[in-house]
Symmetry: C2
Subunit: 352 residues, 2 copies
Amino acid sequence: MQKNNELSGVKEIARRANVSIATVDRVIHNRTGVSAKTKEKIEAIIKEMDYKPNLLARSLASRKVFRFAVLIPRESPETEYWRAPLEGINAAWSEIRMYGVEVVFYHYELNDRQTFNHEASKILKENFHGVILAPSFISEALEFFYKCEEKKIKCVFINSDISNVSPLSYIGPDLFQSGKLAGNLSKYLIPDGGNILIFNVSRELGAEHHLLKKATGFKSYFEENKSTSTVNMLTVHRTDYDSVMEELAKYLQDNVVDLLFVTNSRVSTVAKYFEENNITDIKLIGYDYLTRNIEYLEKGIIDFLICQKPIEQGYKGLLTLYEYFIESGKVDKVQLMPIDILTKENYKYYKN
Amino acid sequence: MQKNNELSGVKEIARRANVSIATVDRVIHNRTGVSAKTKEKIEAIIKEMDYKPNLLARSLASRKVFRFAVLIPRESPETEYWRAPLEGINAAWSEIRMYGVEVVFYHYELNDRQTFNHEASKILKENFHGVILAPSFISEALEFFYKCEEKKIKCVFINSDISNVSPLSYIGPDLFQSGKLAGNLSKYLIPDGGNILIFNVSRELGAEHHLLKKATGFKSYFEENKSTSTVNMLTVHRTDYDSVMEELAKYLQDNVVDLLFVTNSRVSTVAKYFEENNITDIKLIGYDYLTRNIEYLEKGIIDFLICQKPIEQGYKGLLTLYEYFIESGKVDKVQLMPIDILTKENYKYYKN
DNA sequence: TATATTTTCGGGTACGTACACTATTTACTA
DNA sequence: TAGTAAATAGTGTACGTACCCGAAAATATA
């Protein structure tokens, strides 16, 4: 069995146009040195043949290397969340390595915006074609984004977006809708008219816009459905167990809560608190497929986990840059992730 | 920016071993014509260098073509389900075409097992390396599978599995668990002790094992949780609206039903019946992201849809054959799909 | 020992494209 | 109109691997 021997490729184009391969090559790559007439003729033939360049041969012959930087939070001892996007990026990388793709990783601390600036400036000093960026700190990320634009470095945002700027692509959840779904799920857990608490756990104020969008979406569900439930919000700026516990205990002392919605992956901290204090009458919804969270989902302490394909976010992030640069294809400006619901029954089959 | 120029590849192996490229090639491909001594030496060097062949160059130089057949049901007027796997296969194909992959499609009618045999024998007459098979009719599929084994054709099953045989890979749902999740979801819809009906709509008896596995899983949830709900089952062997309606109406006349679980994508037929007859007090769970189903999900007539990534099943089906043959890699014998829950709130973000 | 046979190996070309380098044509200047 | 610069086009080699073909070496046969 042999590959189809139909005449194809630049050679055939050259033959039909009665020119040399090099001239065809010039047209394909939009280089100068071709008269308008021949260019036109060749382009017509290319269209007629529906010529698709052989990416294998192209990449083999081309000595070009594309260098991409990754700037995302370091995996913290408190949440393993950022391991997932990293994994996705590596998976994509191993698939496209052979096309001459290099990736360099930079990590900042979610607790410390200075580290973001530090790593960002390192990236700017080097020579990258593109960056995968998790813009946790809005103003810092914006500053970096503009500098990238100046240097013609293409940015892809993952995990959360920034309004009013236009990266090559945003790959991540629709945070508002994600919160709204959480609101919707609450109707399966408690009757209308209950007391609900939105709980934000985040150290850096800047990283919070992300959580607030979810909170807004969550509330909007109750507003749109003219619910009689009471929805309050509590934010703590420490992420260690003791601080969270303390704040939460204080709140619960003074308030009745039927359902608690944790706006990020720290939900396991709350679950731990519930478990240790034998709190079983508060329903719990949170985020992300992390071993700790799954543990409490399994135990029935967490009722629902919402997940948004963090691995795929990383995977698509790199592939998007690849498509843009290597395949010079068009790229979707927004690639929203599905909003997945995990329960005790289906989590085993979930692919993060 | 240039590709890394470190010495690598067969050329470098040949240099180190002090032999020609052709000899290295013989060793790599396990061909004859190399003395044990040189073979050993070259293999040592290969291991030492951790040599990874350049798949691009390999595929470019190789004139080999791999031919795969696809044998799945034709998309029917009653359900568009089988469009999705087809789409996935085509997506994968367009990605790997350049590696010399050919795909030929064969479709049988889900209503008629004769058409399966007919198409299957067509496949056996040709010369394929692998087959993607949806084994709807057990005995017919088994017969075909054994013939493929004789001819050394590798099979990948999608959508449903067959016990006691071992294809190259099974890619699809865990049907039992999928049904069990549906059982679990019912607890969010009706209180314990309700009346539940499992509803199978399928013309061909043979295609039913698939549905029965889901039904068994569904029941098992109630057994394991010592539920006091009543779970009955009804199967109709016509798939047109009038027949389904008639049978269902008859049943509902004599029985109280609080929740109805349709074991396949025909749930929209039931939903239509509910809508036309203003039945609003029966909760409805069914399968698959189809435009008709989504319509009723949106309207609130269907409460939950369970989906199992039909597009991805097709996509992975072809990629699995690709990995096995072209990359000669190892392949997972079972690739279970996630069990996704769709509600009115999140379906817009779902990727089938 | 001469010849035939088999085993072992190297040379060279091809895959489809990129690109450096060279050759030809055209346009422009003096 | 020669001379030169600019525009246009062609030739040839390289990318890393596969594989055909024939050469050389080793072995067997006479």
